[in-house]
């Protein structure tokens, strides 16, 4: 599970080959923030199937993958598009019984991943005691007693995703990944440590010397990274602070068109299957106008 110190720069197409059908994918992102969406579009184009997707907060990328038929199961604490409302493909697929939703409290899910990151069979939490959430996954959360005090806690079974996918500000060719500022969000912290393989897309690939000048910004070390892909605006339509904001126009369009299954498919055809490249995608979402509008934070 240790990656070598070697050049790991590749294309989106090559990086996606590290993902196999049926894999458990830990995916960074929240409702509208920091998610490897160019990579997600490539996963969809390459028609991966039966994926289990693990997110803390599932967002638009997950909804696309579900609409495209890539997903069999979701592990998350919530799935939505923030103020743009419900993730409609997710809602429809769960209601139709087409995918499973395994809902956790955040601390349960992170405890599962943290146990995985440590090679421990489980970790414990008090989060969710008394809720119905602990009853819906008895194979992975179970009430046990403290051997010293008898206090009841919830054992959370280790989870080691096959692949973690993330988008970040920059990296060198070996996969030293940096964030500016360095938000230690749980998904950029626990996800890559828990996963067996890690794919990172970045706004910019920089020299190794540049990384050594600012080691305090490095969040993931190269020995944990298997693929590095340079994709400017790779989180679009999500945000990558401070580089660009989320794209209200595209989110609103998706929130509206995804109200029907047909509208969702048309959206996928237009924005994911249609464009032959990331540049074409950016052109189709509005080109220069789009890139200018997401420079504004408001």
């Amino acid at each position: 599970m240790a990656a070598k110190k070697e050049d790991k720069v590749m294309t989106l197409v090559d990086a996606v080959q590290l993902i196999r059908d049926g894999d458990i994918i830990a995916m960074q992102g929240m409702g509208t923030q920091m998610s490897p969406l160019a990579l997600v579009r490539e996963i969809i184009r390459s028609r991966k199937r039966d994926l289990t997707v693990v997110m803390v907060v599932g967002g638009i990328g997950l909804d696309w993958m579900i609409a495209a038929g890539c997903v069999r199961r979701v592990l998350a604490i919530i799935v939505n598009l923030d103020e743009f409302g419900m993730a409609n493909a997710f809602r429809r697929a769960v209601e139709a019984g087409e995918i499973e939703m395994e809902e956790y409290t955040e601390h349960q899910l992170l405890s599962r991943l943290s146990a995985g990151s440590k090679g421990l069979p489980f970790l414990v939490t008090r989060s969710g005691l008394g809720t119905d959430l602990i009853n819906i996954h008895p194979e992975t959360t179970r009430i046990i007693e403290c051997p010293f005090t008898g206090q009841k806690v919830i054992a959370c079974r280790a989870l080691e995703p096959d692949v973690a996918i993330l988008h970040a500000h920059r990296a060198d060719c070996y996969g030293n990944v940096q964030f500016f500022p360095k938000p230690i969000w749980t998904d950029v912290d626990v996800f890559p440590r828990a996963a067996k393989k890690v794919i990172v897309t970045v706004e910019e690939i920089v020299e190794n010397e540049e990384i050594r000048r600012t080691p305090i910004h490095t969040g993931i070390p190269y020995f944990k990274v298997d693929a590095v892909v340079e994709v400017p605006y790779g989180a679009h339509p999500c945000s990558l602070y401070p580089n660009y904001s989320f794209d209200r126009v595209l989110f609103q369009e998706y929130a509206t068109t995804s109200k029907t299954a047909e509208g969702t498919q048309q959206f996928l055809d237009r924005y994911i299957f249609g464009p032959a490249s990331h540049a074409e995608y950016l052109q189709r979402v509005g080109g220069a106008e789009a890139l200018l509008r997401i420079r504004k934070w408001s």
């Binding site: 923030q33 998350a76 989060s127 809720t131």
Partner: protein
């Protein structure tokens, strides 16, 4: 003397009412789409609770973003913070142990004991409606928090006899059932577009505390899907002061982000 505002809207009254619950002793973090709580936090800090600690977006300690922007989890909210709190070990330690003791939540269903559901309507495995999920409140209900519930849809669909799915522990079955599970604190107040509720100390049943200007007790009773405890005297919710309204409208939320939480946003109560 402070002057009461004459012209205010429901969203403003909700923010002000929530803000007045907070003190300089509170340490509060906010979740997603939480414009009303974040506005209340900023307002409390500007008025009576300068020492209140806010962990913006559960990352930016004591942040000073200036005003509400596009998203309550965006790093824009961390501006001028004193520390980026690492979430997994630091933030979650402070939450789990109880140092961060105050949290605001909302949900699709709220029952008479303050239990909340945002997971499903119907059966979990075969839901009639799949909702977004319990998110942070699934944690907070079991982690000894002082919980403030807000809702912009006080009606019989939201306020139900019993939640379909218990995603956030309130007072469970009432009485001492929460305590017997070993949990401290619990829901403190429910602030809606119609009024303010608290919980009867013994039975833990939800109790009407005040109604907003222009709202009748009868209307609240009709819009609530369970039997509210209604005291003999139900006062009007104290109105905002002119200063609070000025701060909220002109300084803290000039873009009116708080209104995003209403479907038919910003009805004037005047």
């Amino acid at each position: 003397m402070t002057h009461c505002a004459e012209d205010y809207t429901i969203d403003e009254l909700m923010v002000v009412t929530l803000a007045r619950q907070f003190t300089s002793d509170d340490i509060i973090l906010n979740g997603t789409v939480s414009f009303i709580p974040v506005a209340a936090i900023l307002l409390a800090r500007e008025t009576h609770a300068p020492g209140l600690t806010w962990v913006a977006g559960a990352v930016g300690v004591d942040a000073q973003p200036g005003y509400l922007m596009g998203n309550t989890l965006d790093p824009t909210m961390w501006k001028n913070c004193v520390m980026y709190l690492p979430q997994w070990e630091d933030m979650w330690s402070y939450v789990h142990r109880g140092t961060l003791e105050t949290f605001c939540i909302r949900g699709a269903q709220i029952d008479k004991y303050g239990n909340v559901n945002n997971t499903v309507i119907g059966d979990y495995y075969h839901p009639k409606v799949r909702l977004p999920g319990s998110a942070g409140m699934g944690d907070m209900g079991s982690l000894d928090k002082r919980i403030f519930i807000w809702s912009t849809t006080h009606n019989r669909r939201t306020f139900v006899e019993r939640v379909d799915f218990l995603g956030c522990v309130g007072y469970l079955d009432g009485g001492d059932s929460r305590e017997r599970l070993g949990l401290k604190n619990g829901p403190q107040l429910v602030i809606t577009d119609l009024g303010v509720m608290d919980f009867e100390p013994e039975s833990k049943r939800m109790r009407l505390r005040s109604v907003h200007r222009g709202v009748t007790v009868e209307h609240v009773r009709e819009q609530t899907g369970f039997e509210l405890v209604i005291p003999d005297e139900v006062p009007e919710t104290p109105p905002p002061t002119e200063r609070e309204i000025h701060l909220l409208r002109d300084v803290i939320d000039p873009k009116g982000m708080r209104k995003l939480e209403f479907r038919g946003a910003g009805k004037s109560v005047k």
